[in-house]
């Protein structure tokens, strides 16, 4: 299993670059919704998540990742790539603002919990988490089971809960810190 580096957040390119792999379309059709969903958890934007998904599948198409590990690899890659986008500030402000405008008419309970301005801070807080924690957090909250997260990140299932717990605690602290500094 290929995973991102703890520090750099770069998904390692697997061997086998060159020709497009034969099962790309099949894997794409099966895994695209999930990959978009993972990226969307990080970015909070469908458009940006789809951009990330494209990027990830392009890499996958040149990879030799075993088919059986494709979904896990793609999910991890989507999380890393989306987090990289956050950190590098490549998000497009206009898109975020567009999403904000949409939320104004949405009876979204989450919006009541986290105010509009807060959601930018959420993404910033997520970007400040240790990369491994952030990825585990995003995968779990994207619907991957503990076993799937464990397989994707080469962890034991028992340690997934620990990492997710620490990540959630760290995220809350980041949010609180940011709020108190306001």
């Amino acid at each position: 299993m290929v995973a991102g580096r703890e520090d750099g957040g770069v998904v390692a390119s697997p061997p086998g670059g060159g020709a497009v792999r034969a099962d790309l379309e099949q894997v794409f059709r099966a895994a695209y919704p999930r990959v978009v969903a993972v990226a969307a958890r990080v970015l909070g934007s469908r458009d940006e998540a789809e951009d990330v998904a494209q990027e990830v599948f392009l890499r996958f198409g040149r990879s030799a990742v075993p088919a059986g590990e494709a979904v896990g690899w793609l999910s991890v890659a989507a999380a890393h790539t989306a987090l990289n986008h956050l950190r590098s500030g490549r998000r497009r402000v206009s898109r975020e603002e567009a999403a904000d405008d949409g939320d104004a008419v949405s009876p979204d309970v989450a919006d009541a919990v986290v105010a509009r301005e807060e959601r930018r801070r959420v993404r910033a807080a997520l970007a400040r988490l240790p990369r491994r924690q952030a990825v585990a957090l995003v995968l779990r909250h994207s619907g991957l089971s503990y076993a799937e997260v464990a397989a994707a990140l080469d962890l034991s299932p028992g340690s997934v809960g620990t990492i997710v717990r620490r990540a959630e605690s760290a995220l809350r602290e980041e949010l609180n810190r940011h709020a108190s500094s306001e």
Partner: protein, 483 residues
Amino acid sequence: MRHPSDGTLRRLLDEPAGVTDADREHVTGCPACRSGLTAARQDAAITSAALSVGFDTRWHRPSNATTGVAPSVEFALDVDTGWHHQSNAAASAGSSFEVAVDAGGHRQSNAATGAASSLEVAVEVDTGWQPQPNVVPGEALSVEFDVDVDAGWHRQSNTAASVGSSVEFDVDVEAGWQRLSNAVAAEEGRGSATAVSRWRSAAPGRRWRAVLRSPVVAVVGVVVLLAGAGAAVAGDWLQILRTEQIAPVVAPQADLVKLPDLSAFGKLEITEKLGVREVADVGAAEKASGLSVPWVSKLPHGVTGEPTYHVAARISAVFTFSAEKAAQTAAAAGQTPPPPPPGLDGSQFRLVAGPGVASVWSKARGIPAMIVVRAAAPTVYSSGIPFDTARDYLLSLPSLSEEVASQLRAFSGDGTTLPVVVSVERLASSTADVGGVPATVLTSRNGVMAGVVWVDDGIVTAVAGSLSADEVLSVARGLRWDR
């Protein structure tokens, strides 16, 4: 007894079946652990809410659902398209699942097949447990301990997790795939990315399978041919091309990628999506496809065992020509297209292929050792323009090389020939006879794969695999229809 770790407490929220009975019992009676569980629950709820914000409202997701807190919540978040059914099932069991549906959850009525399986297990959740979909940080802990984790929950949690976000977002997979295909082609630096060039420029193995296993490629080939041609006035669809014969067009790869991209000339709408599924046996394959499935009287050396059967439903698409778009594309390339025939703009072509059925003998890593495919031949309908007119306009486009154009001109004007464009660098083609019907034999230049394809009575049949040309021809000629 030692206290369970924070990770264990966290997992207890998500997957209680993954926590030992001893740990669960301990937590139940330990105020410190219950406090820890409360904290974990609060953080999980905060995180879920935090990660849920900022979504486009087009997603219409049930935003009050929170992961990592309770089984029903997990479902509401992850299996939203199946929720409608799930809530019905749960209601019948006396539970209160339906409260998790919010105003944004109307998309949930589109039940996904994958989610449907979770309906059955939902009712196995002990009805003494009260789900709390609207999770508020710090809410009463007693809810946690009312959960009676039975075997049904174990299945439920696994099902929910396995379905996961794959059904959460209503993304346009088809559009995504088109975009990726174009990006792959562009990345290879081979210019305009037509659907045809995509499979040609892919790995040899993929190309073979694409050509020989799926009628889609053939359809797209025809689409590309006609995309630049347009049609006349609207009206009843007139079948202008029915594949009775397949003839290869051999050309250097550099020329092939000059075929126009469909999106550069109009809009392609998939009206019936491709769906391929494996079926249990030959009887099911024949029933599902409506096609008879031949059996192979003598398997080639190296091909053993029983095949698996796969059925593809009929696919169809409508292509709408846009003269304006075509002109823009040409202008961007510094070219001026010839004036289109009258009535071209906005004209439509309807493309239909399949159903199809494949018998696949596999070897390691998913590469088929041999496949035998039958499919209803791809057919193109137009609103009246003669095939000759369509073809001639295509031939007049400056993006088409003279070499390819000259071969296209050789095709019959009655529209009964389907050009299969072949990369001359990678494939060699020849002709053969299969049961009195002319067939095209394709062999990879590296000698690894070969295939033979022919059309008889509106049905495309192909035999291909990691075999020699002689071997695929032998199999093709030895197909039997009696069982």
